[in-house]
Symmetry: C2
Subunit: 318 residues, 2 copies
Amino acid sequence: MSSSKGKIGIVGSGLIGQNWALIFASGGYEVHLYDRSKELVDNAIEKTLATIELYDTKGILRGPLTKDDQKKLINPAYTLKDCVEDCVHVQEAVYEDLSLKIDVFKQIDACINNDRTTIGSSTSCFLPSKFTDNLNYKHNCLVVHPVNPPYFVPLIEIVPAPWTSLDAALKVRNLLEQVGQKPINMTREIEGFAVNRIQYAILNEAYNLIRDDVISPEDIDTVMRDGLGMRYAFLGPWEVTHLNARNFREYAKQFFKGLHNVSMTFKEPPKMYEDHQTTNKIAESLEKRIPLDKVEERKKWRDERLMELSMLKRKAPQ
Amino acid sequence: MSSSKGKIGIVGSGLIGQNWALIFASGGYEVHLYDRSKELVDNAIEKTLATIELYDTKGILRGPLTKDDQKKLINPAYTLKDCVEDCVHVQEAVYEDLSLKIDVFKQIDACINNDRTTIGSSTSCFLPSKFTDNLNYKHNCLVVHPVNPPYFVPLIEIVPAPWTSLDAALKVRNLLEQVGQKPINMTREIEGFAVNRIQYAILNEAYNLIRDDVISPEDIDTVMRDGLGMRYAFLGPWEVTHLNARNFREYAKQFFKGLHNVSMTFKEPPKMYEDHQTTNKIAESLEKRIPLDKVEERKKWRDERLMELSMLKRKAPQ
């Protein structure tokens, strides 16, 4: 079926690829889903259509279209060419393997027939310059990194390579806003992008406090889950400070000096990869709370909570 | 009215003191609220009773007791002696001013008549050793730091001075768990405790990314609010990693080396207090989003969201 909004190609039909299909169809785009075998594609299409049914039943389907209209927008692509030709945007969602990304981007680039098509990678860890060099359309290539599960956690990191055009970055931001995600733009590529840099800053300090026997692994999880994290579900770190004093400028006056003094007691980023004792202590704490045979069940629990939270956030948008 | 569970003294009748009163009454403790004038005390009692009514109407009153039983547990204390005598626990909740804390703790200490009474300070920034030295009952003194608003954000940081007994720290933890909070114990005092150390680690990296023009202040808030922070409302940082791979040990194997490599690109904690340009950029971004005359309204919005989230978390406890 053709759509009024345009065509989106998705390369890679795993969970992330299926999520991209759901998101773009919810926004009225015609989605073409490709993978390296017909079986994979058909299987993914079937699952995606079933998810639309399920979300509709649960009352959590996104977007203004009916479930049937959304289902009509989801198409299989059995060749890469069929997937990417004439697209507004192509989104890669294959495994996190650099040589695979290089290869897939080369293949996509060879099939692109329109200089207006932007090409995003779902990678969480590879800088875009590592796999988009030497391509005809490298000015249209960039990282478009979702957070799991993207249907309920709307953040998308848009990270340009040095040769990505500003026009491409802004077009992708606009497209993602249109389909209900919350994109952010980095002005240049940087290791860890923003999400993992912030996450790692937290993990480093949490690890040092455990290694130095200041606090237990369980208790540091509680600090976030039942304290800081509840605010962060609704407010970014700067807005938290804006509301924690009379306003941000007052917060800066009152607390920036003390903040710096505390920060000067931080230790070096820990070499977690060679500190087996601390790592083992954290592992044992986690395995006591969520035994290995309960991890999958717990992931479902997490996704249900994220779904509920996303409904709460939609009801009271910022 | 006397209570089967015991008596709690609260010194300081502002918002935090009132929240402590609500929390302990919800758990069946007899609360005695003191401040430096009868007018302040009576006013705070009136507000606390009205809050119980309001929460009952909204269906968000905590604990197994009816609103009337909870109201009966809340008493004024017009002398410090009446407030703290025969208490299970005394909780200080006066302004954040070190000389005031020193003075108030000296006065409390002089009125204590039972070596089993623990004495907590609500301070978010002063190490307990700074205001509990030279007291008769210093082994029972410690920091018991809530997060705003404590009725809905249950985390409590328990921080001992070098002379605080382990017994006192564990008794306070037990007491707080009984009344439905989520206490964590630090084994020793450390600048910023755990909450602010984690918060400052985030703010430092967020500040550096803005200063270096990698990302805008709005976008870094989005990274947390619509990404990382949604998970942190339900999972601590370690549990996030346990669920982001097959399990934590797999996460460690796959990502710890990369995590360290990214972390080695982190810069020094910024001297925010002397970088007026970056601070001003953040301030302008916040004031555009939440103008100064809307900050109070936004605080109410935040507290309503936290209330809703706390109900969600109670429905699906971890």
